[in-house]
């Protein structure tokens, strides 16, 4: 049954001459799980907002065409922080029901059911601002579930979350779709994690729907049109000219099993990157205890060498941020020694924390002024290196997410630090922007900079880091070459490694996989 139909929809945001959506024709059937993909700025979020009429009712603007919805649509947004309005979890879940004017008895039941379905009884009485990001997003979903909507639109609900919390949210969506038959439209960047959930994929480009069809066909479309939007497993097989392309690790391994055997696994011969012997950061027996008594770091030892790109991974709350604060000198160790031989530049998770000046140029100049550096020619040089010179006189707040990040990075690079710390730099970035960031990291590495990358993104680490350090409960669980650390685990590893593990060992990236199976034109 068709529950939403959009015909010839063209939409302009207020005071914009270019349409955000152009000639959209779309019909959504009840119980479908639709994955809405596209690059940043392609119009996905705007289309998502059309379903529950936030566009145009809330945003205004010009609209042409018809939107016919048979049911009410619930919406969950990207940033869980900005969705929650009430003080306490239970009241937050009831908030939407209060707005709908439901009687108390019905509200009680719906709140109870939402709490039970999402298994969040334990946080029922907690304050919303005390929750973790994942818990906040669960509460936001719970509040929408409680409102009784059977059609959900979710705009990148996992982009601000760590992988564990993101998996939990995607699992909830799967249950809503499979157990309750809810219709889901999911806008997402983590294609590897959610592609297999979809019944249908919509791909947007310049405000238009460029692809509408089954996930299998989308893999072909993505490959043929060089879009790079397929899961890495599928990407590997399609490059191997396989007709039936698997979407999951399970399906992929089934195909590989025919060719390879677990009994005689062959190791992939990889090349270890050469790392200099010169230490730039030397940490010995570092312990750090916060004022509230929380022991964040426990006798941690770490050496960072000049010119290397070191990836630091680990659970939230495991001590990564405290380690970074110690390295950058924001806090002093409770015990132990931290020797940092060169100047440190630090880029935090949120680029908005850096941007307050009227132009990009002023933003970079501010850092120079604070550091008393008179050489203003550095600004243009950095802007050119980061390919944002053409935004020199623009307000940095008017730029897109990836551009803002580059301006924030520029405001650090202008100090010409020899050590650069990047905290979760890939959060919220699409594949293209990640590749761009990767290129910047490689360029900096080639200039001899030492880079510490703190991230949950195993794929990114495997591509751009030489060594990886896993931090667990305030101590180092493992440190070494990425080919060792990321290939003998089950969680801190890449999709490609999961696919080949046991058949060909030490494979991390798609390039590794293609190289290792070069002779096998067809698998």
């Amino acid at each position: 049954m068709e529950i939403s139909k959009i015909q010839d929809l063209t939409y302009y945001y207020p005071r914009k001459s270019e349409p955000a959506l152009e000639k959209i024709n779309l019909s959504i059937k009840e119980g479908e799980f639709v994955l809405l993909l596209g690059e940043s700025g392609s119009g996905k979020s705007t289309l998502g907002r059309v379903f529950n009429k936030i566009v145009p009712e809330f945003y205004g603007g010009k609209i042409q065409g018809n939107i016919d919805n048979q049911v009410e649509v619930g919406m969950v947004f990207q940033d869980p922080e900005k969705q929650l309005v009430m003080d306490c979890v239970e009241r937050e879940i009831a908030f939407g029901l209060e707005n709908l004017g439901k009687p108390y008895e019905i509200m009680r039941k719906k709140v109870m059911e939402a709490l039970s379905f999402l298994n969040i009884w334990d946080i029922k009485d907690k304050k919303t601002y005390e929750l973790s990001g994942g818990q906040k997003q669960k509460v936001a979903i719970g509040a929408t579930v409680a409102m009784g909507y059977r059609f959900f639109v979710l705009d990148e609900p996992t982009s601000q979350l760590d992988p564990v919390a993101a998996e939990e949210i995607l699992h909830i969506l799967k249950r809503l779709n499979e157990e309750l038959g809810y219709t889901i439209v999911l806008i997402e960047q983590r294609i590897d994690r959610c592609f297999h959930l979809a019944d249908r994929v919509l791909f947007m480009e310049d405000g238009k729907i460029a692809f509408d069809g089954e996930p299998q066909s989308f893999v072909n479309f993505s490959y043929e049109n060089d879009k790079n939007f397929s899961p890495s497993v599928s990407e590997y097989f399609i490059r191997k000219q396989k007709r039936e392309v698997p979407l999951t690790i399970k399906e992929g391994r089934k195909i590989l099993r025919k060719k390879f055997s677990m009994d005689d696994s062959t190791p992939f011969t990889y090349e270890e990157e050469k790392i200099s012997n010169e230490e730039v950061i030397s940490i010995q027996n570092l312990s750090f205890t916060y004022e509230n008594g929380k022991e964040a770091l426990k006798k941690l030892n770490l050496t960072v060498f000049e010119g290397e790109v070191l990836g630091i991974m680990g659970e939230n709350g495991g001590g990564k941020s405290t380690l970074l604060k110690n390295i950058s000198g924001l806090v002093k160790p409770t015990k132990g020694k931290v020797k940092v031989k060169k100047e440190v530049g630090y880029l935090s998770q949120n680029p908005n924390d850096y941007l307050f000046n009227d132009t990009v140029y002023e933003e970079l100049k501010y850092t120079l002024d604070q550091k008393n550096i008179k050489d203003l020619s550095r600004i243009d040089k950095v802007l050119k290196d980061l390919e944002i010179f053409h935004y020199r006189d623009k307000n940095p707040r008017d730029l897109s997410g990836g551009e803002k990040q580059r301006v924030a990075l520029g405001s650090i690079l202008v100090m010409e630090p020899e050590i650069l710390i990047l905290d979760e730099p890939t959060r919220g970035l699409d594949r293209k922007l990640k590749e761009r960031l990767g290129k910047i990291i490689n360029d900096l590495k080639n200039k001899g900079k030492t880079i510490i990358l703190v991230t949950h993104d195993a794929e990114f680490v495997s591509k751009y880091c030489a060594r990886v350090c896993l931090i667990f409960d305030g101590t180092i669980a493992q440190i070494g070459s990425k080919y060792h650390v990321l290939t003998d685990g089950i969680y801190y590893t890449t999709q490609m490694n999961k696919l080949f593990s046991g058949y060909i060992d030490h494979i991390l990236t798609l390039e590794d996989a293609l190289k290792a199976t070069k002779e096998e034109v067809k698998i």
Binding site: N52, K82, D87, E98, Y104, N352, Q370, I412
Partner: protein, 293 residues
């Protein structure tokens, strides 16, 4: 162990009236003592310090300023030169006592708010008010959420600015204010941008589209009725005392609060107030009051 917001609103109003109307320091002292005992009985002694911490400066200021600007009173304890505007510099014991009494009242009022906070649950108060003032309670709730977020944001942005070379430990106050300016600007811009997201979220959750209902169903319990009964007794004693002019004194030209009748009547007030403390103590210790009613 929390009480219904209505119970505590009524009781706090009674206490507030008593504090404002009484002028006898012994009466004010009794109310202050009652509040300190009540808060301590509930095991929240630390709240007294945190509530009075900032008020104490105001109280000291009142004690200093009143005798400086008001020169009435017979007991002159210091007389000096004539000053412009203020006139002859003169400090009287009565003016000092009046300032002290006013300071005591200020501390009392602050503790009434702390007492209300200790005795009720914040969500219950929101629920109670949301029945009658949706928008106000929603604004308050969002403000509380926001303040918490802003606190974290300020710390985060400050770290970022330190690493960009900003010195927040400048000795000159102008330079220090200048150093904090970017933090304020970042927070301000982020808050403005965030407000649109919040408004969008509210809209998508149906806010303002229908006539709102309230999720809360607060019930008055047995101990609320008991407390309200004691409140009625306190109020009755207070009104009776007022009608017979108890607890009211003059400070100028000389203090008139030494009449024995006036001093004895405070015992009734104390008995009424301390029966409330007894009930609170009972609610904390006695299972019947704590769980059954």
């Amino acid at each position: 162990m929390k009480f219904h917001p209505l119970t505590m609103i009524l009781f706090s109003i009674t206490l507030l009236f008593m504090t404002l109307v009484y002028s006898h320091p012994v009466y004010i002292g009794s109310i202050l003592l009652f509040m300190i005992m009540s808060i301590c009985t509930l095991g929240e002694g630390k709240k007294i310090i945190s509530s009075v911490k900032y008020g104490i400066y105001g109280a000291i200021l009142i004690i200093i300023v009143n005798p400086l600007v008001y020169h009435e009173g017979r007991m002159v304890i210091y007389e000096g030169i004539r000053l412009p505007i203020i006139g002859r510099f003169k400090i009287t014991l009565e003016a000092l006592a009046y300032g002290g009494n006013s300071a005591l009242k200020l501390i009392c009022i602050l503790l009434i708010f702390a007492f209300y906070g200790v005795m009720t649950d914040r969500d219950d108060t929101f629920s109670f008010f949301s029945k009658y003032a949706h928008k106000l309670t929603l604004t308050l709730s969002m403000t509380i959420n926001m303040i918490h977020r802003l606190k974290l944001e300020v710390l985060r942005v400050k770290d970022v600015m330190i690493l960009r070379g900003v010195n927040f430990k400048e000795k000159k106050i102008i330079k220090r204010v200048k150093a904090y300016y970017p933090i304020l600007k970042v927070i301000f811009i982020s808050s403005l941008e965030g407000s649109l997201d919040r408004a969008e979220s509210l809209y998508s959750r149906g806010y303002g589209k229908y006539i709102r209902t309230s999720y809360s169903k607060l019930e008055m319990k047995g101990r609320d009725y008991l407390f309200l009964s004691l409140n009625t007794i306190v109020l009755a004693v207070f009104i009776y005392g007022l009608l017979s002019e108890k607890g009211l004194v003059l400070f100028y030209p000389t203090f008139t609060g030494f009449h024995i009748e006036n001093l004895l009547f405070v015992i009734w007030i104390d008995v009424a107030l301390f029966s409330c403390v007894l009930l609170l103590w009972g609610c904390m210790r006695w299972k019947f009051l704590k769980y059954k009613i």
